[in-house]
């Protein structure tokens, strides 16, 4: 590990609050290539604080690519240039000395900016609160091995369930559609026997909520899949669309 420091110059989006106008500010830093991208931002912030200046607001938590808290648009790409990782997993060894780096928040109508690089993604939770669950209470459930599930199906469900709720799919989409995120949850349950009883109802209420919250529609450009840090596949969107159409045709609870 540990090579020579690299020098990078950064243009970072600064915006005081949801209603103020933002702009790019410039920063320069010399940093170890073994440092992560967010550690580089930590260093800048520490430096700003020692100069009595307001640090750049950005969010992260696990720094292992699993909690979905982080999320920056780096040189135009959500989560940066390396495929299938979250922003917190990006390391400075992927940049060259002298590289300019532009950093922006995830932008979407449904993700208002709170401050600088921090956005409000609570819309995702609102969608899940309308149907992203199986309606059972604690206790009184059958033995875990009562219903065998084929390894392949369990594995497909797991692929879909791996979504970390980061919102990169929305930020990547020119329509700011949340289809990849929603379809991942819908698919996980649609694949499993436990998800069958509420299958049609679930897809209908989640899609309705998604539309209501101002997420755009899907025009099949697949930019979402390309930027998704967990490799969530667009086949989930196709599966959800099939379920949605079927539900609209057969269900009498919804017109």
């Amino acid at each position: 590990m540990s090579g020579k420091n690299i020098n990078v110059s950064l243009k970072i989006w600064r915006q005081d609050g949801p209603k103020t106008v933002g702009s790019f500010a410039e920063y320069k830093i010399s940093i170890s290539p073994d440092a992560s991208f967010l550690e580089m931002l930590d260093e800048i912030n520490n430096d700003l604080e020692s100069k009595n200046q307001i640090p750049i607001a950005f969010e992260s938590d696990c720094r292992e690519g699993i909690c979905g808290t982080c999320g920056l648009v780096i040189n135009g790409q959500p989560h940066g240039p390396i495929p299938k990782i979250a922003t917190c997993q990006l390391h400075m060894r992927n940049f060259k000395d002298g590289d300019p780096i532009w950093i922006e928040p995830f932008r979407a109508k449904a993700f208002p900016i709170i401050k600088d690089l921090v956005v409000d993604r609570s819309g995702f939770d609102e969608i899940l609160q309308t149907g992203g669950y199986i309606s059972i209470n604690t206790g009184g459930v059958p033995d875990a091995n009562a219903i065998p599930i084929s390894k392949d199906i369990a594995s497909l469900a797991m692929d879909a369930a791996a979504c970390i709720g980061c919102g990169a799919c929305v930020a990547a989409c020119k329509n700011a559609s949340a289809m990849l995120f929603v379809s991942a949850k819908v698919s996980q349950y649609a694949l499993l026997p436990q998800g069958q009883p509420e299958r049609s109802q679930r897809v209908q209420s989640m899609v309705a909520k998604m539309d209501e919250l101002g997420f755009g529609s899907c025009t099949n450009t697949y930019a979402c899949e390309a930027e998704c840090p967990k490799g969530i596949s667009v086949t989930n969107i196709a599966r959800m669309n099939r379920d949605y159409i079927k539900a609209s045709v057969t269900s009498n609870s919804v017109e």
């Binding site: 292992e64 060894r93 609570s122 669950y133 059972i136 604690t138 459930v141 875990a144």
Partner: protein
């Protein structure tokens, strides 16, 4: 009444929980909606509790400082969750899981609590499967298991390397359902900063709205804290960046006793530190130890690449020292052994790292089998280090990971403050001096799904439904104290950043209150922490204002608390003149360097009562072992 009454039910160990469930008072279904319950934290423990209590009909308010319930630190647990299902027919049972946990905890946990944990473990797996958690399965469609650090049976259920994520998303889905139904009100981006007591009973909390800076007051009939562990006192740990001790620390300062603060776990398989800018340490799941072999060179300062070190010049030190458990030896033993060989100068390139090598397993099982089991862990490793573990052995080193200590609770998970319940990693209850792998997820969900719904009912049944108003003088007083503290932090305008103080504290903790401790070092640590604390209140620079989204201010409050907690950890370690589990006192070891317990004098839980910063009273809860015979823990 003794100050500490563990309220362990009478009777045979096996029947205690069953009898207790029958003997507890019930709140009649129609009355449940008259009771308000606050749950702070939406990790495994908090989300499962909030959801289950909402289902029962209580009015629940759930709080998290995260932007979403799903972000809780539980999400990053990788390896798995234990249960005594015995699906593998390899001799597991409730009693064996109980016994392993008590022994693994080096005989410093309460028998009755641990037995209950083992009893409900099976229900957890049933619950999760019913929620749609996609656990790993065998070809026949049944659930797969693996064995995990310190266990000789395969009782660990897993979902690839993302078990915590899947369990949390399951619990959060149940929570989301209750939010949708209006039974739980979820408050995100709120940090609890005070506990409010009225006549010594927990009646509410104050939270800071992290977006606007406003202080919000919430009152309830019971307060449940499920706010996670305090390993971030070390600055560098495997915990998420924002995990912190503030909720339990502020409750401690209001009277809740802090139990066994020095029982911290150092995890053996983390990535080594890369440099000064390091912000946290990454855990590589110890499930890797099932197929990876740990070794270092037999020579000091061996600068050869691993491939250049021939087999007979390698020291597979865990296999050598602990032949029956080998690479699967418990965490404390594995961590200490790694430190030992590195201190001898035999670490990778003479530094602080050892190899975790998959070559033999790849040769034996094939690359595909290894990829299937550990693919995503290998990817994580490569992304971070730039090295491919299929070709070069991983480099690992121990790091602070989990805290067995926490607020003291009785059998009902209630602290010594009436009405204040503590769940999950935030309490001290089940793991004694050392936690076994895959048992924290089990405990968090046991507490939330299967224990608190009963015990909180028993408490509420004797409470009047009238609710304390948030303009009660106690709320007003707590609010002005809180505003005072925030104002003070912002007004110091010193020269050192909050992180700078945190890093300094972390170094003291790691060097003197870390993996190996001694009398002299601990005394020094106490002095150094006190000095650092007084410097903090003179020289910290907290930029920005209060009425705003201000992450520096958030951290400043947390670090102020760590600067008190760190001292208590050192004091507790100094007071416990024995070695047990994660607490290794150099003065107390056997001839071959193993931890030497002193059962005669230290078979108790230390519960510290806060008097003033830097001043505590020690209370002891004696541990009675009726079922398990105390023995020297041996993994040879």
């Amino acid at each position: 009444m003794a100050v500490l009454d563990s309220k362990i039910p009478a009777g045979n160990l096996r029947d205690k929980w069953t009898n207790h469930k029958f003997n507890m008072k019930l709140v009649n279904p129609a009355n449940k909606r008259k009771y308000d319950i606050i749950v702070v934290g939406t990790g495994l423990a908090g989300a499962s509790a909030a959801a289950s209590l909402g289902e029962l009909g209580y009015n629940v308010s759930a709080f998290t400082f995260h932007d979403s319930a799903r972000r809780a630190h539980s999400i990053s647990a990788q390896g798995g969750i234990n249960a005594s299902k015995n699906y593998q027919n390899d001799g597991d049972s409730v009693y064996r899981l109980f016994y392993d946990t008590v022994k693994g905890g080096d005989f410093r946990a309460r028998e009755a609590n641990v037995h209950r944990l083992a009893e409900v473990s099976d229900n957890i797996i049933d619950q999760c499967v019913a929620q749609g958690v996609p656990f790993a399965r065998e070809y026949g469609g049944l659930l797969d298991n693996r064995s995990f650090g310190g266990a000789q049976v395969s009782r660990t259920f897993y979902a690839r390397g993302q078990t915590g994520q899947q369990l949390l998303l399951g619990a959060v889905s149940a929570l989301n359902r209750q939010v949708g139904l209006g039974k739980v009100k979820l408050y995100t981006r709120r940090e609890m900063l005070s506990l409010v007591l009225v006549d010594g009973v927990a009646k509410g909390i104050l939270v800071r709205n992290l977006v606007t800076g406003e202080v919000e007051k919430h009152s309830a009939h019971a307060v449940i804290l499920a706010t996670g562990g305090y390993a971030n006192v070390f600055f560098l740990s495997t915990n998420a960046m924002n995990s912190n001790a503030t909720a339990i620390w502020r409750a401690h300062k209001k009277g809740a006793m802090f139990a066994n603060p020095c029982f911290t776990q150092i995890h053996p398989t983390c990535l080594p530190v890369h440099g000064e800018s390091q912000s946290k340490l990454t855990l590589m799941s110890e499930s890797l130890r099932n197929d990876g072999r740990v070794w270092v060179s037999k020579k000091k300062n061996d600068m050869r690449a691993p491939g250049q070190i021939p087999e007979d010049e390698r020291d597979y030190y865990l296999e050598r020292k602990y032949p029956s458990f080998g690479n699967l030896s418990p965490r404390d033993i594995s961590s200490r052994s790694a430190k030992e060989v590195c201190d001898e100068g035999r670490g990778v390139m003479g530094g602080d790292a050892v190899y975790l090598d998959f070559e033999d397993s790849i040769n034996r099982l094939g690359k595909k089998a290894i990829e299937e089991k550990y693919g995503n862990l290998f990817e994580i490793y490569e992304t971070i280090t730039g090295e491919n573990p299929y070709n070069v052995p991983m480099k690992i080193y121990p790091a602070p990971h989990y805290t067995m200590g926490g607020l003291w609770v009785d059998y009902n998970l209630m602290s010594n403050v009436p009405g204040l319940f503590i769940l999950g990693e935030a309490n001290f209850s089940d793991h004694g001096a050392n936690r076994l792998g895959a048992s924290a997820l089990m405990q968090g969900l046991a507490d939330g799904y299967f224990v608190i719904p009963y015990t909180v009912g028993d408490y509420l049944a004797s409470q009047k439904p009238t609710l304390v108003k948030t303009d009660h003088p106690e709320f007003v007083k707590a609010e002005s104290e809180l505003n005072e503290q925030v104002k003070k932090l912002l007004s110091i305008k010193g020269k050192r950043t909050v992180d700078d103080f945190h890093k300094t504290l972390g170094r003291i903790m790691w060097n003197k209150v870390g993996m190996a401790r001694n009398d002299k070092g601990l005394k020094e640590a106490i002095e150094e922490i006190r000095a650092l604390r007084s410097e903090y209140w003179k020289d910290v620079n907290v930029v920005g204002s209060n009425g705003d989204f201000n992450q520096t201010l958030e951290r400043a409050g947390r670090v102020a608390d760590y600067l008190e907690l760190g001292e208590l950890m050192a004091l507790d370690a100094l007071t416990r003149n024995e070695s047990c589990g994660g607490h290794f006192r150099e003065e107390f070891q056997t001839e071959d360097g193993e931890a030497k317990r002193d059962d005669q004098n230290y078979t108790f839980v230390s519960a510290w009562e806060f008097i003033n910063p830097g001043e505590w009273n020690l209370h002891k809860e004696n541990l009675e072992y009726e079922s398990v015979k105390l023995s020297q823990r041996s993994y040879k």
